[in-house]
């Protein structure tokens, strides 16, 4: 690998995206969890759930700020680091980029209103209704951005004439063939990760401070959501693999180390390559790849041999792919096990090993998201826009990009540290139990004004 401006450009973008995607995932997922908790709280008239929604929102505001600033960074970096890509693709794919900003704008406005109006409505459902535009705005902006990524994989909606994209159909470009399966996969896995995060926090608090009602309710609610979305993520992953087999076979072939086109292809799990590029020590599942790709054990699966060597993705993506799939199934198994223990009365679903596993699920889920995106991006190599523009044609030529890598690295370390520091202080000094106690002591009326002070006026 040559260390040149193209590599540095990739590193800068990869760095920003790896950092941003953590907060973007939180930003997409938490609003749904807040909406669920607030709704359950109103339905059951149980202020534990209401407090949950409030506390999650407070944490969310901190992380969403990091998401906003890193999102701004990547929006600008697209033009600064990949000027030729944006010049060419801007003609075709500007529409969803533009709409993403609107969707986020919409979300930000209602988030601002939601935060500062906890006690301004007599009917609690009215306040809950404010979560709808937030959840929708977040999901829409994720979908629009994902459709841009879809376009890079499956460019469509134009005709190439003399190096220019002509006869542009913006909607066709936006709803390219990759968009539906990608959006499904991104949203399902984001919600899965958000649920894993909140369940992990509840489990952590039970491990540390014992099983309070508040933590138990939060854990059970989020494990339920986790079960649902890890199941949906598995389906989305399957849809994505089937899509790749049909439309982007080199990406699937690289991930599965499927070198030769054949019928009844084996699924290869893990393993390594020796010097002659032979697969060693892997688990072979006979004909499983054909089945996964086409729901038919004897279907023909396109192999890497049908693509010129300089258009093949790096074989390293096999590990990214296997690890991502592993994470997805681990989370599905984790949540299924939790409910099995819960239903099987003799067992205790709150045993320490179960709780530790749920806490461990938090880094695991985020790792899964990172692995998935690394696979998506590295698996598209060497293309920036598949079939039309290679990465090296798209990148900036400025050598300053190397220094900028370190500047951004420093920035993200600073932001990440600050974020963790502020979140810790926010919740450690103000545990849920203390808030509940305070609420129980105060009369309903004075409670309201006190909380209004807390929510509406964060400056104390």
């Amino acid at each position: 690998m040559v260390v040149d401006t193209v590599l540095w450009s990739r590193l800068v973008t990869g760095l920003t995206l790896s950092f941003h995607v953590i907060f973007a995932t939180i930003g997409v997922a938490i609003p749904l969890m807040v909406a669920i908790a607030e709704f359950v709280g109103i339905r059951k008239k149980d202020n534990h759930y209401t407090l949950m929604a409030k506390r999650w929102t407070r944490g969310f505001v901190i992380s969403v700020a990091v998401g906003v600033v890193t999102g701004t960074a990547i929006a600008l970096q697209l033009a600064l680091v990949w000027p030729n890509f944006m010049q060419l693709a801007g003609n075709v794919i500007a529409l969803p980029l533009f709409m993403e900003v609107f969707a986020f704008f919409f979300e930000a406005i209602f988030l601002g209103i939601y935060l500062y109006t906890w006690d301004r409505f007599r009917n609690p459902y009215l306040h809950w209704l404010l979560t709808v535009p937030i959840v929708l705005g977040a999901a829409m902006s994720a979908s629009f951005i994902t459709s841009v990524n879809g376009f890079m994989n499956q460019p469509g909606g134009f005709v190439l004439e003399a190096g220019q994209f002509m006869a542009v159909h913006p909607l066709q470009a936006m709803f390219n063939e990759a968009t539906p399966s990608k959006v499904f996969h991104v949203l399902a896995s984001a919600y899965m990760t958000g649920a894993a995060l909140l369940a992990g926090i509840a489990a952590f608090s039970i491990l540390k401070k014992g099983a309070t009602d508040y933590a138990k309710k939060g854990l059970k609610l989020m494990m339920g959501v986790l079960l649902l979305f890890s199941f949906l993520t598995a389906i989305a992953g399957d849809t994505s693999a089937k899509f790749l087999a049909q439309h982007q076979p080199e990406k699937l072939a690289a991930a599965e180390w499927h070198f030769k086109t054949e019928q009844g292809a084996d699924l290869i799990f893990l393993g390594w390559l020796n010097a002659e590029r032979e697969i060693m020590g892997a688990l072979h599942l006979p004909k499983a790849l054909s089945f996964l790709a086409f729901s038919d054990f004897n279907a023909e699966v396109t192999g890497l041999d049908e693509f010129p060597v300089d258009e093949q993705p790096p074989l390293l993506v096999h590990y990214l792919f296997d690890a991502m799939v592993g994470v997805g199934f681990a989370l599905l198994a984790l949540s299924a096990l939790f409910f099995l223990l819960l239903l099987w009365k003799k067992r205790n679903e709150l045993n320490r090993w179960m709780l530790r596993a749920i806490v461990f699920g938090v880094p695991l889920a985020f790792l899964g998201v990172e692995l998935g995106w690394f696979y998506a991006e590295v698996g598209r190599q060497p293309w920036m826009i598949r079939g039309y523009m290679r990465v090296e044609e798209a990148a900036t030529t400025s050598p300053s990009i190397m220094i900028l890598f370190f500047a951004f690295l420093l920035l993200y370390i600073l932001l990440g540290t600050m974020c963790v520091f502020v979140l810790r202080r926010l919740f450690r000094d103000n545990p849920a139990e203390a808030e509940l106690e305070k609420a129980a002591k105060a009369k309903p009326d004075s409670l309201r004004s006190e909380q209004a002070q807390e929510e509406g006026d964060p400056v104390s």
Partner: protein
């Protein structure tokens, strides 16, 4: 009206919107820091955070919107500005990131931290200074292209009196706009001490703003005479701007009708900003990108305009709701909610 003209008009209006809302935000940072140094912070910091906490993300989106829209309507801008602005643009990103995230962090952290306040104040000045450089570059003479490699002549930029006068104009405008708005907000909150302080700041920064404006126009005439002549043809818009400025000054001096004063100030900047923008036409980057030559394909242009209108229909009622809740709800402004 052709879609290119429509596109650039929409973008220019958005940039104007960003100029106003961002100036309020940036200037507030400087005032918060300055007030702390002079021991007046107890008077205004509460006021500042009450207005800015709910709206900073909205301000930020205005910027991203303009930026993404510019590249959407005029993809060539990505090639030229993107290549030339890699370093200054990245510095602006880092400053914006520090400012934006600290906004959220400080809400739950300590307001007393002087390092934070310094960063808040310093970024409030550095960001508008660095963003205004893009306007300087658009005048031409700093960016050049050979064999599709775009370079920025830093020496010419840093020694250009036009560049420094526009940076100066950006800074003084930020402080003038911000102080006038905060005076208005303080008057709504019936906060007499804060009002007096902000009124003083507003009056103080009014004269440097107008001096910087005249200096910039003067240097523009030397640097890009075509643009200058076009602006002189729009003398009535410039005259209107000065007229509004005098009204603002008079109202501030008399100490009444702060809302009207702020509207006057918005009109002052609106007319000047459009005189500048219309004079700039047809160039987006002199001489490389023109509105007609650099525009995107018609299908995309129309799609963007349609989305823009649909988006506005969605956003204007939502923004109106925000303003009703936070800006014009007297109880919220006074801190009772």
């Amino acid at each position: 009206m052709s879609y290119e003209i429509l596109g650039i008009s929409v973008l220019w209006i958005f940039l104007y919107g960003y100029l106003i809302v961002a100036s309020i935000d940036f200037g507030a940072g400087f005032f918060a820091f300055y007030a702390r140094l002079t021991g007046n912070d107890h008077l205004i910091n509460r006021l500042i955070s009450r207005y800015l906490s709910p709206v900073w993300e909205i301000t930020n989106v205005f910027f991203v919107f303009f930026f993404v829209g510019l590249i959407g309507f005029f993809p060539d801008a990505a090639h030229y500005y993107g290549s030339a602005l890699l370093v200054p643009g990245s510095i602006a990103i880092i400053l914006l990131a520090i400012r934006g995230s600290f906004y959220a962090f400080e809400n739950y952290g300590s307001k007393k931290n002087i390092v934070f306040l310094f960063l808040y104040g310093a970024t409030g000045l550095l960001i508008p200074a660095s963003l205004s450089v893009a306007l300087v570059l658009s005048e031409g003479g700093f960016i050049s292209e050979t064999n599709r490699v775009v370079t920025l002549d830093y020496l010419a930029l840093f020694t250009s009196p036009l560049a420094w006068s526009i940076v100066g104009l950006a800074l003084t405008s930020v402080l003038f706009i911000s102080a006038s708005f905060l005076a208005f907000y303080a008057s709504r909150a019936d906060d007499k001490p804060a009002l007096e302080l902000m009124r003083g700041y507003a009056l103080f920064w009014s004269t440097p703003t107008i001096i910087a404006a005249f200096t910039s126009v003067l240097y523009l005439s030397q640097h890009n005479n075509r643009h200058f002549q076009n602006m002189m043809d729009l003398w009535w818009l410039l005259g209107l701007s000065v007229f509004f400025f005098l009204i603002v000054l008079w109202l501030l001096f008399k100490g009444r009708r702060y809302g009207l004063a702020f509207i006057g100030l918005m009109l002052q900047f609106l007319s000047a900003f459009f005189a500048y923008g219309i004079g700039h036409y047809p160039y987006i980057l002199d001489p490389y990108i023109t509105v007609q030559g650099g525009a995107t394909q018609e299908a995309m242009g129309i799609a963007l305009v349609v989305v823009f209108i649909a988006g506005l229909l969605l956003l204007i009622p939502s923004l109106a709701l925000v303003f009703r809740l936070f800006l014009f709800d007297a109880d919220y402004v006074k801190g009772k909610k």
